[in-house]
Amino acid sequence: MTTQLIAQARQAKGAHVESLLGKRNVVGVGLGYKISEGVNTGELSLVISVTRKAAPSALAAADMVPKILDGIKTDVVETGVLRAFDLGPRDRWRPVVPPGVTIGHHRITAGTFGCLVRRGEERFVLSNNHVLADVNNGQPGDAILQPGPSDGGTADDRFATLADYVPLDFGTVPSECSIAEWAAGLLNFVAGAFGSNHQLQATKRTDGINRVDAALARPLSQDLVGNEILYIGVPTGVGTAMLGTEVQKTGRTTGHTQGTISQIDATLRIDYSGRSALFTGQLVAGAMSKPGDSGSAVLDMDGRVVGLLFAGSEFATIINPIDDVLSALNVEVVL
């Protein structure tokens, strides 16, 4: 490839680009090798991109692309309609995955990447237990996908692994575990008779009270994740929501929405696919979310993170106060 040839092609392009772009279906003009029947000929040409190729008979003479322009061959290539690269919250994002978009443990459907947090120098993806840890069923190292499985995510879309989660506590229902308790008691009697110190427990007895639905994922590399929340920007800090605080979030399903805090200090029973979990100390906002928005960071209108969205209904959105989330996981928001 001589520089002289390139200069000649450039000159031809400069002379004809305007008239070429005026022709029907033409959306681009560049320099490239001519492809003939799928084979690269190695011949420098003017590549004319068109939305679709039309037979010469279907075109007005003025819309025909000449075969040669100033001694340089032309090559008409069908590219379709070219659009500004505009990804949304349900798309696959690379090379950098921003908060506000679809993610999920490989066995779930999809939730939202809330915000970027750090423990020391290490950065993590913050979302819900039920998004990253499959409601206590996940193991550290499990694949976290972007996009989430509901949005087409597969093993090839692994961008992080489950790192840590706060277990969801469903407590116990006495009427359902009485037989198991009786069996465990019998086995413990037998174990005791043989001098064993290992006592079996029928079920883990817990108080069944939760403050947060939260988990962390470790990105495959630290530069694969950003801290600029889609449609909102980089958080300006961390804050406390009060009654009447105006809030916003970006989530996988409903995108960027706004609402108002209508309750604080709320105790609520939340359904997890048929199992009920009790939460205390929650924030309630109006309808600003739908399934798939779980894990969204909730910010006030000054850009301070105030909560982590995890539940809701057609009338309400339920949010963990961010201080509880950060202290439970021992992390800070990356500002």
């Binding site: 459907t109 009654l243 604080i264 709320a266 939340i270 359904d271 798939g292």
Partner: protein, 96 residues
């Protein structure tokens, strides 16, 4: 804006009655908010009891009726529907 004294009072009364309120039919939540009138928040702080759906007192057992006030603090019943974890609909969380 609610004063911190008012909030403390609401928190104390809420704590005293919360367990009892949570046991009543259709109740899924108890929190601190504003009383609503015709769907709009008034400026009046109240203990907000969230229910899946409202039923007239005549259709409820006496023990399931929610009092209009507790120790002088207004109690407002608000319909919240079914509260669910918001994973996307589909395989695990059911279509909604």
């Amino acid at each position: 804006m609610v004063s911190s004294e008012e909030l403390d009072r609401l928190r104390t009364v809420k704590a005293a009655y919360e367990a009892d309120l949570m046991r009543k039919a259709n109740v899924v939540g108890v929190g601190i908010g504003f009383r609503q009138a015709e769907g709009q928040a008034t400026g009046e702080p109240a203990i907000v009891v969230s229910v899946t759906n409202k039923r007239p007192a005549s259709q409820l057992a006496a023990s399931d009726v929610i009092p209009r006030e507790l120790e002088g603090v207004p109690v407002d019943v608000q319909v919240v529907g079914e509260l669910r974890a918001l994973g996307a609909g589909g395989r695990r969380f059911g279509d909604r």
